[in-house]
């Protein structure tokens, strides 16, 4: 349990669970996309919290910057995927109500 001595990692795990519940449960596309984003935020939080330690001990020279770069990349990728999803949602909405 020493890997989880600070609160951010378990919080990240809880967010991932909540987000996955939204992604899988739905019922509509926007809620699934929000769930995906919540899970993504939880994942990046987990990643960041875990990177501050190595095998349970805090790193002697401070937090590792490499995973921070990975988190930023992940945020950008998730943003692009969410944008694609939102575009799809808008198109589905327009198709359902063509007269609006």
């Amino acid at each position: 349990m020493s890997l989880f001595a600070d609160p951010f990692a378990p919080l990240g795990a809880i967010l991932i669970a909540v987000g996955l519940a939204g992604l899988v449960g739905g019922p509509d596309l926007i809620r699934r996309l929000i769930g995906f984003n919540v899970a993504g935020s939880g994942l990046f939080l987990l990643f960041g919290a875990l990177s501050g330690r190595m095998r349970g001990e805090p790193l002697p020279t401070g937090p590792d910057p490499v995973p921070q770069a990975m988190i930023i990349t992940g945020i950008v990728v998730a943003l692009a995927a969410t944008a694609l999803g939102v575009g799809l949602a808008r198109r589905l909405e327009t198709d359902e109500r063509p007269d609006e």
């Binding site: 991932i16 987000g19 992604l23 995906f36 994942l43 875990l50 490499v66 995927a81």
Partner: protein, 487 residues
């Protein structure tokens, strides 16, 4: 410039140029196809090769690595992708400025670039980025026709793929937390059987299973691949799902053997068998040709998971475990060629009949003899009949299963072949019938559209005939677990 970097840069540059060139993007297709084939051949001759990007060695930087397995998949990608691109030149033949071809070319080249990146990259996080790129390009390809069916299929594809990426990234985060690096070369053998690593392996496997449409996460594939236009379906089935399946096999044979997960091997083998039998049965019930071919993709990908239990075990299994791994490689490679051939010939048939309903295919055998022959030849490989590459793959897996004493895997192997014969028979039988008078006449189809599926189908047969050079290529740099077995 190093050929590994060039292999990825060429389709990326083509994608960007295609956006800029608009309706003239079709001019890029032939040169890019020819160049990627040349680069793939060059890499296959130079293998093993490695390129450290920017001079920053791992664990700080990332690295491109080509061993025999990567080179073989690169060749398959160049061949299927090239043929699909040249087919698409005739498919979008008139060169008029319309939305669909304008969007097709950049998406096609991006999907190609992302899949090639997946074959060559060597660390888990860059592979995540490549996986996402493949997903975005793939969703775009499914959306091309803009019909409500395509929109629904693309939405489902996107959601499944996003779930898969999340799972994969969870596993990656756990691996990084424990080891401080994500480079596959540095992690080999370093993953110990701790609970954290077992969860990481489970999460990564789950993510890749979803992305490769393996049962029970296969539901997104048939609507998506059948809604896309024919050249897009060809590379979706041949390359896009193959990338994550390749990664699954690579990680299981290179990173996860030290985790001691024999029970999981059996479960994954059962999932693969269930996929083969279930998807083949569903394929048999389809009324539309492209959806039948898409279910066939799900079934054929299930064979890949059978390599995991067959390469495992000890004792009599050990000398044959090279057979199971090579069998899975041949299966993936020949399926890539044969499935692209099937989708391209189905595209030619759809152009002639204006529909892809199987009961409207009467008479196409006489109208489009080359495309029909290509379809039937590709079906030979799917069924696993000699002398095709598919036969060699299933034969290697069968001998591995009997030699290791795990004879029960022969049931999905042989049963899958029988079911494949059954579901392929229906469209092929229809093609041979004369066209009844009450059906609308067939439209003419340019010969070029028939030639490309024929070339691919002949290549998938050649894979079985000229298999020894390919077998030797695959053994270069192969993971130790491929020879000694997992677990």
């Amino acid at each position: 410039m190093n050929e590994l970097a060039l292999a990825i840069l060429l389709p990326t540059a083509a994608a960007l140029l295609a956006i800029a060139m608009g309706p003239r993007a079709r001019l890029l297709a032939a040169p890019v196809a020819a160049l990627s084939l040349l680069i793939a051949i060059r890499i296959a001759l130079d293998v093993p090769a490695e390129l450290v990007l920017g001079g920053f060695a791992p664990p700080l930087g990332i690295r491109l690595r080509a061993d025999g397995m990567a080179a073989a998949f690169l060749l398959m990608a160049a061949l299927s992708g090239g043929a699909a691109a040249l087919f698409a030149l005739s498919w979008y033949g008139d060169g008029a400025e319309r939305r669909e071809p304008y969007a097709f070319w950049p998406l096609f080249h991006s999907a190609n670039a992302a899949v090639l990146a997946m074959f060559l990259l060597d660390d888990l996080f860059s592979l995540y980025v490549a996986l996402e790129l493949v997903t975005v390009a793939g969703v775009g390809l499914v959306l091309l026709s803009g019909t409500p069916a395509a929109l629904g299929a693309a939405t489902r594809y996107l959601l499944f793929a996003l779930g898969g990426s999340l799972a994969y990234l969870v596993g990656t985060a756990l691996v990084f937390a424990a080891h401080g690096t994500l480079d596959i070369g540095l992690l080999k053998g370093a993953l110990g059987p701790t609970p954290g690593m077992v969860v990481a392996a489970a999460a990564i496997t789950l993510g890749l299973l979803v992305k490769s449409a393996l049962v029970p996460f296969h539901v997104w594939l048939p609507p998506a691949h059948s809604a896309a236009p024919a050249p897009a379906s060809a590379i979706l089935s041949a390359l896009v799902v193959k990338g994550s399946a390749y990664l699954l096999l690579r990680l299981w044979f290179e990173l996860f053997p030290s985790l001691g997960l024999e029970g999981v091997l059996l479960m994954l083998g059962l999932l693969g068998s269930a996929g083969v039998l279930w998807a083949s049965a569903l394929a048999f019930r389809q009324q539309h040709l492209k959806r039948l071919i898409a279910y066939s993709t799900v079934a054929q990908l299930g064979y890949l998971l059978l390599a995991l239990p067959l390469a495992g075990g000890s004792g009599p299994a050990q000398p044959w475990s090279a057979g199971a791994w090579s069998g899975a490689m041949f299966q993936a490679l020949s399926h890539g060629l044969a499935k692209a051939a099937m989708f391209l010939s189905a595209g030619a048939m759809m152009r002639a009949a204006a529909t892809d309903r199987i009961d409207a295919l009467d008479g196409i055998g006489t109208a489009l003899p080359i495309a029909s022959f290509a379809f039937a030849l590709a079906a030979l490989s799917i069924m696993g009949l000699p002398p095709s590459g598919g036969f060699l793959a299933k034969y290697l897996l069968l001998t591995a299963s009997f030699a290791s004493g795990q004879w029960w895997w022969a049931i999905p192997l042989l049963g899958g072949g029988l079911l494949a014969a059954a579901y392929v028979f229906r469209p092929v039988e229809r093609l041979m019938r004369p066209r009844p008078a009450d059906q609308p006449p067939l439209k003419p189809v340019p010969r070029a559209m028939e030639i490309w599926p024929m070339i691919l189908a002949l290549l998938s047969i050649a894979l079985g005939l000229l298999s020894l050079p390919l077998f030797e290529l695959l053994q270069i740099g192969n993971p130790r677990a491929a020879v000694e077995g997992l677990g």
